[in-house]
Homo-oligomer: 512 residues x 2
C-alpha cells in the first residue's frame, strides 16, 4: 500500500459541534474533580486514554504540593498501561481502582494499602455499574478513533465497558487518537440490546462470529465536555517466546482435545476457543497453528499475537473479543493488513465477550493461567501468598464456570523451584472445585471430570506436581486421609504451612 | 371436593405396551447390574423413587452376604430421602454419589471415605452427563405419576434431571406413584430446546412464569424395561417454626430490599425471588407475607411451605421451580387445592430452573444459607471444618453468581456459641469474594457492593459478627494489617487456627 499522510484531528472529528470542545489534556484534566468516580476506556493494555490520565496525574501532584487533596476512583475495562495506571498511581491520584490491574506501580500501592482495589468478574462490571451498585459516575474518559458526521463514536482497539461508561457518566471526555488506522471502523459490534431486569431479553447470538449490534458507540453530545487529541499507539504487549514448559503444556492440551474429539465428547466442528493472557496461552495458540483443527473460531476477551497468527494462517476463520493487545510486530502486521483482519475480527463490549449466557451457549473451550492449584482442584488466580494482589480474576471466572471445557494451566514450580504451584490448600480461592475440570502443568494433565475430591487429589499429585514436591504432597494427603473426615481430607494446622514457610524462608521446601 | 377412590395403576398407566412390563420392585432390582451408573429422579426430598432403591438395597445386602460385590453409582437431581440414599448407603450399595445429598447415613459414609461424592452446581449436572463427561448411564429409575395413552410420562413432584436421564440412559425403569394427584398433570414445563454446542440457541424465557416447553416427559418406549407400582408420598419436609434469629435476618433483608427500591437500585416491579432451603429461607418468605411487595414471582429451585403461603395469600402471583418439597400440612393443602396451585406453579428441569442464562436475564434475587463466611466475604456452604461434607453446594452458585442481588445468611454463631460463623478465613470456599454481595446474620446486614477487601472486613466484623467473637476478629484483622501485603491482609499461620482449635477443643473460643 502507498504510504499515506496520517489523519489529522479534523479528519477524525467530523461532528461539527465538537470542534469547539477540542482542548488540551491539561485543560480537560481541570474538568475532572477530586473524588470523582471516573470511567476510563482500556482493556489489556489497549484502547486506554493516553494523554488525559497523565494530565490528571500532573494536576494531582500539583494539588498535593499545594496541600490540597486530589484523588479519583478509576473504573476501566481491565488493565491499562504506564500512562494511565502507572502515572496516576505514582501521583497518588487513585483512591479506588476496579476491576483489574497489571501495572506494577499501581499493584505496589494496592498491596501497600494506599489504593483500594475491587477485583471483579469482567462480565459483572458493566451491569453492576448500571444497576447503581458502584455509585454514580461523574466523568467518563474514553479513547475513540474518531467521531462520525452524526456524532457517533468510532471505537478504538478495545471496547471494554465504554458503552456503559458513556451511558451512565454525567460528563464525557473523548480522547481522539489519530494513531490507529481509520480503517478499523466497522470491526466493532456494539450491542445495544442489554437492559436492566425485568426488561432483559435473550441475546440473539448463536455463533461466535455473529454480528448483533452496530459499528459505533452512541453518546449524548450534550454530555461531551472535552475532546482531546492524541496520536500514540497502545503499549507494546510483547511476550517472551514460548519456553519448553509452555510448549509441553500446549502439547498436552492439544492432545487432550484431539482425544476428546475422537472419543465423541467434543464435536467434530470443534468449539470456540477462549485463551487467557500470557506465555502459556500464546504457546497453546501456537500449538493450534500446527494442530489438527481447522476453521477454528475464537470467542475470547482479548486477541493476542497467537490468535492473529491463527487468523493469518487460515486455521481460525474468525475471532470475537473485546480488545486487541499485540506486540509491536503483530500490531504492524495488523495495520498493514487491516482489510484482512477487519473481516475476521469482531470487537464487542466486554459484557458480551464474557457473557455467561453466551459462553455457555457457544460451549467455549476456556484456557486460563493460574498462580496455584491445590490437590482438590481449587484455583488461586489472583493472590501471592494469600494477601498480595497480583492482577485480578479478569474473565477467567466467566469462562471457567460457563465453558464447555475448562483448563487451568501453570508451570508446576515458580521462582526457580522455591515455590510449588500445586499445594495442599490454595492461599486464596478464585475458582472452586465445582468449576475446575482440567489442570495442566509441564508435568502432565489431570482430567478431574467425574472424580470425587480424594480421587482428584491423587490424580493431581501424580500428573501435575513437580517431582521435587510430589512426595511432600503425597505425605500430606496420606496423613490427612488418616484423619476423621474423609470427604476432603485436610490437616488444617498444616494446610497453609507451605505458604507460611515460603513467607518466612523464601521457599516452600522443607529446611534440612 | 367429594372423596374419590385413589387411582389404580391401570388408571395411571394408559400406554398399553407397558402393561406387560409391570413388575415388583424386587424383580426390577434384578435388572440393575453391579457397577452401573444409575440416574434416579429426586430433588430436595421430592419425586424420588420409593420402592426400587429399597429393593436394590436388599439385593446388595444379599449379594454381600453371599460374598459378591454389589455397588451402583447414584446420580440424582439433588437430595432424596431415607428410602433412597438412606437405604442404599446403609446397605453399602453406593460407590459414587452425585450431585447433592442430605441423608445422614449417606453423609456418614461420604465422610468415612466409603462413598465417593461429587458436589456439583445443579445447573451443570444434566449437561455434563449429556456431554459424556461423567461416563455412560446404564439405567434410569424415574418416578412418574402416570403414562399417557401415547407413552408420554406425567412428571411427579420433582423434575430434576429426569429429562436428561431418560434421554441418555440405556434402559429405563419407571416407578409409577399413584399417591400424588393425577391433577398435577399440566403443572410441568419440560423444555426440549437444549442441545449440545455448537447447536445451542437462546432459551426463549423472559418472565419467571413463561411456559416454554411441554407438560410431559418423553421416553423411548423400547428402553423401558420395567414399570414398578408405588403408592407413597414424599418425605415430610417439615421445618421448625422460624426462631428469633431467623426473623431478625428476614427483617433485615426485607428492610434492605425496600430501601434499595426507594433508592432506585431495585425496580418498582420487584424481581423474581430465589430462596434456598431451611429455616432462615422460610422466615424470609414468611416476612414477605406481611412485607410491602406485591405480585411477586418466584424463580427458584425448590418450592417450600413459605412460597405456597405467598401464593395462597396472593402476594406471589406465580412460582417456577424444579421441585415441590413440603411439610405434611402444606402438602395436604396443595392436594386439596391442586387446581389453584396448578395454575400458579411451574415445575421445570433443573437445568432450566437454575440456568445461568435465565437467572441473569430475569435478575433473580438470590437468598442462600451458608455454613460460614470469612471477613473478606468468601463463603463456605458445604464443609464442616474444611474436611467433612455437609450437603453440597446445590444451586447456590447458580443463583449467587448470576443473580441481580445475592444474599448469604446464617446465624452468627452455632453450637451454642462454640462456633463463630464469621471467621478469619473460611475452611472451604464455595463462593468467592467475587460472587458475594450481601451477608446477613441476626446481628445485622453487611452490604459489600463496591467495597475493597479491607473495607469489607471492617463492615462484616462490625455488622455481622457475634459480639463474643467481634474482638477476636478485630484483633486478627488489625494484626494482619500490620503485615507486608495489604490487599487481603491475612496471617497465614493463624488463618485457620479457629477451626483447628474447634477440632481440638470443641470450641473456637480461646481457652482461658
Amino acid at each position: 500500500m502507498p504510504a499515506q499522510a496520517p489523519d489529522t484531528l479534523s479528519d477524525r472529528v467530523r461532528y461539527a459541534d465538537f470542534h469547539s470542545r477540542i482542548m488540551t489534556a491539561e485543560q480537560a484534566a481541570a474538568l475532572v474533580p477530586h473524588g470523582a468516580n471516573v470511567g476510563m476506556s482500556g482493556f489489556t493494555g489497549a484502547g486506554y486514554p493516553k494523554a488525559l490520565p497523565q494530565a490528571i496525574a500532573a494536576r494531582a501532584t500539583a494539588e498535593h504540593a499545594a496541600g490540597r487533596p486530589y484523588r479519583i476512583n478509576v473504573w476501566t475495562g481491565a488493565s491499562t498501561a504506564p500512562e494511565l495506571d502507572g502515572a496516576l498511581a505514582e501521583a497518588d491520584a487513585i483512591g479506588l481502582r476496579l476491576p483489574f490491574n497489571t501495572d506494577p506501580r499501581c499493584r505496589q500501592k494496592i498491596n501497600a494499602g494506599s489504593i483500594d482495589f475491587i477485583d471483579m468478574h469482567l462480565s459483572h462490571v458493566a451491569q453492576q455499574a448500571w444497576f447503581g451498585f458502584l455509585g454514580p459516575m461523574q466523568v467518563a474518559v474514553i479513547e475513540v478513533l474518531g467521531v462520525t458526521e452524526d456524532g457517533h463514536l468510532i471505537p478504538s482497539t478495545a471496547v471494554g465497558n465504554n458503552k456503559t461508561w458513556l451511558e451512565i457518566a454525567d460528563r464525557v471526555i473523548l480522547e481522539v487518537n489519530t494513531r490507529p488506522p481509520a480503517e478499523m471502523a466497522g470491526m466493532h459490534d456494539i450491542y445495544y440490546g442489554t437492559a436492566i431486569p425485568p426488561r432483559r431479553v435473550p441475546i440473539a447470538l448463536t455463533h461466535a462470529d455473529d454480528r448483533i449490534g452496530q459499528p459505533y458507540l452512541k453518546v449524548d453530545p450534550a454530555k461531551v465536555i472535552a475532546v482531546v487529541p492524541t496520536h500514540q499507539g497502545d503499549r507494546d504487549n510483547t511476550f517472551a517466546q514460548p519456553d519448553e514448559n509452555s510448549n509441553l503444556i500446549a502439547a498436552a492440551i492439544i492432545d487432550f482435545l484431539a482425544h476428546e474429539m475422537k472419543a465423541g465428547r467434543l464435536p467434530q466442528e470443534m468449539l470456540p476457543i477462549q485463551s487467557g493472557v500470557g506465555n502459556v496461552a500464546n504457546a497453546v495458540l501456537a500449538g493450534l497453528l500446527t494442530g489438527p483443527f481447522e476453521n477454528l473460531l475464537g470467542f475470547t476477551e482479548v486477541l493476542q499475537d497467537g490468535m492473529l497468527d491463527l487468523l493469518r494462517a487460515g486455521k481460525m476463520s474468525r475471532a470475537s473479543a473485546t480488545a486487541i493487545s499485540l506486540s509491536r510486530t503483530a500490531y504492524e502486521d495488523f495495520e498493514r493488513n487491516i482489510g484482512f483482519y477487519r473481516d475476521r475480527i469482531i470487537l464487542r463490549p466486554q459484557e458480551i465477550s464474557n457473557h455467561p449466557e453466551l459462553v455457555r451457549r457457544l460451549g467455549v473451550i476456556a484456557m486460563n493461567s493460574m498462580i496455584e492449584a491445590d490437590i482438590y482442584g481449587n484455583i488461586n488466580s489472583t493472590h501471592i501468598m494469600g494477601s498480595a494482589m497480583m492482577n485480578g480474576i479478569g474473565g477467567s471466572g466467566d469462562f471457567a464456570r460457563n465453558g464447555y471445557l475448562s483448563f487451568f494451566v501453570t508451570p508446576s514450580v515458580a521462582k526457580g523451584g522455591a515455590i510449588s504451584c500445586i499445594v495442599p490448600m490454595v492461599s486464596h480461592v478464585d475458582h472452586t472445585e465445582h468449576d475446575t475440570q482440567i489442570i495442566v502443568t509441564e508435568q502432565g494433565l489431570a482430567d478431574l471430570r467425574g472424580l470425587s475430591p480424594r480421587q482428584r487429589a491423587q490424580v493431581i499429585i501424580d500428573r501435575c506436581a513437580h517431582p521435587d514436591y510430589r512426595p511432600m504432597l503425597q505425605d500430606y494427603f496420606d496423613r490427612a486421609r488418616a484423619g476423621a473426615a474423609q470427604h476432603t481430607p485436610h490437616l488444617l494446622g498444616e494446610a497453609l504451612s507451605w505458604h507460611q514457610r515460603c513467607l518466612e524462608t523464601g521457599s516452600m521446601r522443607k529446611q534440612p
